[in-house]
């Protein structure tokens, strides 16, 4: 063995020998990397599974990968374009249009494209055809009465079946200049919810990684601090800095690799295991399937290895700095460094807080909102690092010296907090995000509940595919109010026109964010309309502005007289008086039935006579079901959120416990001067409480800022709707106490095992 190898081996052996006494730090590094990679893998796979489901679309057994659409909004696809392309031999083209978020296709053409074995029994039976293509409407059924190509132009031509490169080229060459051939991605009506779900998951995943980074660096710092005496001795014995650097990097790489690869495998297995649950959620929420397990383990592992290498390179910078200092008196260096940079730190703290305060008013896009969240978290961490010890110190100074143990406890807590700042940051981020998310979700829940209770004004609702207007049918035992609908295009976007009853008694059921003084009068005389937030935000419309709507009589201008919340709807919507749409509706989304309980059976029986598909649903059931869907939507993110906080609390606990091991001599002194074991434990626990509560109190304003940001900025720019932020003290306290409780419970556990007697005489004296 060469001299260099022998030195390297000896240095590595020495480093690894420290594991016998201090195995917590390396274990914490492995655990943090493991959790980060498992979390990120799970989030990636869940999102990939969900996205692939939304992108995979087939008609019967035939996949649809491309479609032909107009090149721009002012161009249109005509029936003659369709006929011409088919005449040129492109028979695999099927015309379609989108209505109310559903797809209506030319089922007759599609029927002929299907293999004979897969065809429905009767070509004549359009209902059978519809059933064969579950979830797809028949375009021929759509274009009836007032629904024409003028009101509902063709959206595009689906290219059904696989397309060879030659066929693709031929088709591309055949299409006229105003059309284009592009990949087809079917966006389901619930796509907005999926986007929201996906964004939520990514946010939680990013949060988990961020928290893990803090945990890794905290553990790494603790490890280096514990190793410094060994490193000093090795350097004093003549082992060079470069050798120690290589040894530490090798050690870190092995630890990172174990954590990352383990995390990838566990994360992927976890997603595989919970696939059925996710699939159920997706089926329930998005009317789709979750396709789990579509991943390449070697690829993910390779990615993990690359990340490990990058992380180790970054850690190398820290190692180099520590090794440079390790032959010097470190305490003096650190003190000098702190003195030198204190003004810089304070300026940075003030600057970041000022940026946070200013930024809140300047955020004007989704990207800016996300960057601003990053800024808020950085400012929060800066506050924890720089301000928390100072604030704790202020409190500690108020403790009277006549209570020496309490006095020591508070001061020692300040000292502990300074040495575990990175772990405190991880806990801070997790707690702030948890409180922020909980406040946001609670605000959303309350707003949704209130909105549903107000908008669903009738005791029962009827959902049916009845061909015609049930409310116009004679003999109904109770009055029925149809909700007429029609989808049109406005400025290149689909716009839902929906009716709202124009009687004065219904005014109280429309919750409005903003309205002009004579809103209801203008609405009732068919001069004004109400628009939803989605339309107002997308097209920057306000009350007093004018919108032109394509009605039967042609483009008709209306004044916007109010803006109403329309939670969860991805579409822009306009409410028109019932009398306007009753003459030219394309669909009826539901009927409000003003029936009492005693009239329910009579109504059901009447409905059975008129429509087999009719479902009579009580208002309370509708609200209940909506709230169940709501809760399920946030179940996954809530779980991820809680796991993140648990991990952060665990890291904080390990960090503090390790530091407490370092103050053993002080604890021994306390015992030697007559402080009982119980009082020592109490004192330690009070220190943990002091640190945890200080961190939590600092997290609170940032958490509320995050909640405000999520509600008013992220939601606003991502989905074009917002809701009022409701600061329920119970929810805030609950989130705070769960976070603190989790941490303090973890921290209290090892106290029970703290030895009541002296450890050994060698340590005591």
């Amino acid at each position: 063995m060469s001299q260099a190898m022998r030195v390297l081996f000896l240095a590595l052996h020495t480093q690894l020998a420290t594991y016998r006494r201090r195995f917590w730090e390396p274990l914490l590094i492995v655990a943090a990397i493991f959790i980060a990679s498992a979390g990120l893998t799970a989030v990636t796979l869940i999102n990939a599974g969900a996205s692939s489901q939304l992108k995979q679309f087939a008609l019967g057994d035939l996949p649809v990968n491309f479609h032909i659409i107009p090149r721009s909004d002012n161009k249109s696809l005509t029936r003659s374009d369709y006929a011409e392309l088919r005449r040129q031999g492109h028979n695999a083209l099927v015309a379609y249009t989108k209505t109310a978020g559903r797809l209506a296709v030319d089922t007759v053409t599609l029927f002929n494209l299907l293999p004979a074995a897969n065809r429905p029994a009767s070509q004549q039976n359009s209902f059978a055809q519809q059933a064969a293509f579950n979830g797809i409407d028949d375009i021929n059924q759509l274009y009836r009465n007032e629904v024409t190509l003028q009101t509902h132009p063709l959206s595009g031509l689906l290219v059904v079946g696989a397309l060879s490169p030659e066929q693709y080229k031929m088709l591309e060459d055949s299409i006229p200049a105003h059309l284009q051939l592009i990949p087809f991605e079917f966006t389901s009506p619930a796509n907005n919810l999926s986007d929201s779900f996906s964004l939520n998951l990514w946010a939680m995943g990013a949060l988990m990684v961020l928290v893990s980074i803090f945990i890794v660096f905290n553990a790494f710092n603790l490890l280096l601090a514990a190793r410094t005496p060994v490193l000093v001795k090795l350097r004093q014995l003549g082992i060079g800095q470069a050798v120690l650097l290589r040894v530490l990097q090798l050690e870190m790489f092995i630890l990172a690799l174990v954590g990352a690869v383990g995390g990838v495998i566990v994360g992927a297995s976890l997603v595989g295991a919970i696939s059925p649950v996710l699939s159920n959620i997706y089926r329930f929420l998005l009317d789709g399937q979750f396709s789990g397990g579509q991943f390449s383990t070697p690829r993910l592992i390779l990615l993990a290895v690359v990340f490990c290498a990058v992380a180790v390179m970054i850690m190398g910078l820290l190692i180099r700095q520590r090794l440079t200092q390790s032959l010097a008196r470190r305490s003096y260096l650190v003190a000098a460094f702190k003195r030198r940079f204190k003004p810089v730190y304070n300026v940075w703290l003030l600057l970041s807080l000022a940026l946070v305060a200013l930024g809140a008013w300047l955020v004007a896009s989704q990207l800016q909102a996300l960057l601003y969240i990053g800024l808020v978290l950085i400012a929060g961490c800066t506050t924890v690092v720089l301000l928390m010890p100072q604030l704790m110190s202020l409190v500690a100074r108020r403790v009277p010296t006549t209570k020496p143990l309490l006095h020591w406890s508070m001061h020692n807590a300040v000292s502990l907090s300074q040495r575990t700042r990175l772990a405190a940051c991880a806990f801070f981020i997790a707690l702030a995000a948890n409180i922020g998310m909980n406040v946001m979700v609670d605000s959303f829940r309350q707003a949704t509940q209130q909105w549903l209770e107000q908008r669903l004004f009738a005791p029962f609702y009827i959902y049916t595919d009845f061909d015609g207007d049930l409310s116009a049918e004679k003999g109904a035992p109770v009055p029925l109010l149809a909700r007429y609908g029609k989808d049109v295009r406005l400025n290149g976007q689909t716009l839902e026109l929906r009716s709202f009853p124009d009687g004065a008694e219904y005014q109280q059921y429309l919750m409005l964010d903003d309205q002009s003084p004579s809103a209801w009068f203008a609405f009732n005389v068919q001069r004004g309309v109400f628009i939803n937030q989605q339309l107002a935000y997308r097209q920057e419309l306000n009350t007093g502005d004018t919108v032109s709507l394509p009605l039967n009589a042609g483009l008709q201008a209306f004044e916007v007289v109010g803006v109403y919340p329309d939670y969860g709807n991805p579409k822009a919507q306009v409410l028109l008086p019932e009398t306007v749409l009753a003459d030219e509706y394309a669909l009826i989304s539901a009927y409000a039935a003003f029936a009492s309980l005693s009239e329910q059976s009579a109504l059901e029986s009447w409905l059975n006579d008129h429509s087999e598909s009719a479902r009579l649903i009580p208002r309370s059931t509708l609200i209940e079901q909506s709230m169940i869907v709501f809760s399920r939507t946030f179940l996954t993110t809530d779980t991820l959120n809680l796991v993140t906080m648990l991990v952060a609390a665990l890291s904080f606990f390990v960090s503090i416990t390790l530091l407490v091991m370092d103050i053993k001599p002080q604890l021994l002194l306390l015992r030697s001067v007559g402080v009982s074991p119980f009082r020592i434990k109490l004192s330690l626990f009070s220190q943990y409480c002091f640190i945890a509560v200080s961190c939590a109190l600092l997290a609170l304003p940032f958490a509320l800022l995050l909640a405000w940001l999520l509600v008013n900025k992220v939601n606003r720019f991502a989905f074009h709707w917002t809701y009022p932020l409701i600061l329920d003290p119970m929810i805030i306290m609950q989130s705070l106490l769960i976070g603190l409780g989790l941490l303090l419970l973890l921290m209290a556990l090892p106290l029970g095992r703290l030895q009541a007697r002296f450890y050994s005489q060698q340590e005591a004296l």
């Binding site: 020591w408 020692n412 001599p665 030697s672 001067v673």
Partner: protein, 217 residues
């Protein structure tokens, strides 16, 4: 003040007892030094006297208290009120400055006196370092802070483990003089374990610990 008779300490993993039928008497105001080879049991003897370790046999009576019969609570109270211990490794409270470290024991006992403490720290040459964090002190300064802390609450018994181990000759002289003077003035019993002949010679009685028993130095 200190009466030890037939003291026995046998560690389970050791063939012979580390302290074997040891007897010792130290009166109030008297000082005793104990020397001996490394590993002969000097620190164990101090740990037994302070009640940090349980003896295997024999009795230890300090200031009228039979140490081995005291409950944990009573032993704690005994240490708080009667003992001053100087540790070889100082065991200073890192989060405090010099002043608060020294004041700690007196505040615990309830006999804190700022003037007395100021005088004590001046005698030990720490007047200029009162507000300094202990982590910023040299080894010698930390040693002196540990000594000041052990004496500040006016204990009746002082147990010192290598009190001048980290000090230069001149400071060692000052510190040991202060330690022995304190015992004479306050009528406290002092047991000092040391390798330093100079310190040992200052004690009224000098012993050498060998094979678990005390003999003349």
């Amino acid at each position: 003040m200190i009466a030890v008779s037939d003291l026995l300490k046998h560690y389970p993993d050791s063939a012979t007892p580390i302290i074997d039928q040891l007897s010792l008497e130290v009166a109030a105001g008297q000082s005793v030094s104990i020397q001996g080879a490394s590993g002969c049991g000097k620190s164990t003897l101090l740990a037994l006297l302070a009640g940090f370790e349980q003896s295997t046999g024999g009795t230890i009576v300090i200031a009228g208290h039979a140490i081995e019969r005291l409950s944990q609570q009573a032993a704690d109270a005994f240490r708080m009120h009667h003992l001053g211990v100087i540790f070889q490794q100082f065991n200073l409270l890192d989060c405090f400055n010099v002043w608060d470290n020294v004041a700690f024991t007196a505040r615990l006992k309830g006999n804190y006196n700022a003037d007395r403490q100021q005088a004590l720290l001046c005698n030990l040459g720490l007047a200029q370092r009162l507000k300094a964090p202990v982590s910023m002190l040299s080894g010698g300064e930390q040693q002196r802070v540990a000594i000041a802390r052990a004496l500040n609450h006016l204990p009746e018994v002082v147990l010192a483990d290598e009190p001048t181990g980290n000090l230069d000759e001149q400071t060692s002289e000052v510190v040991s003089q202060l330690l022995f003077n304190y015992c004479q003035e306050q009528g406290a019993a002092l047991v000092v374990v040391t390798h330093s002949l100079d310190v040992a010679r200052r004690a009224q009685t000098q012993y050498r610990l060998h094979q678990g028993r005390l003999g003349p130095a």
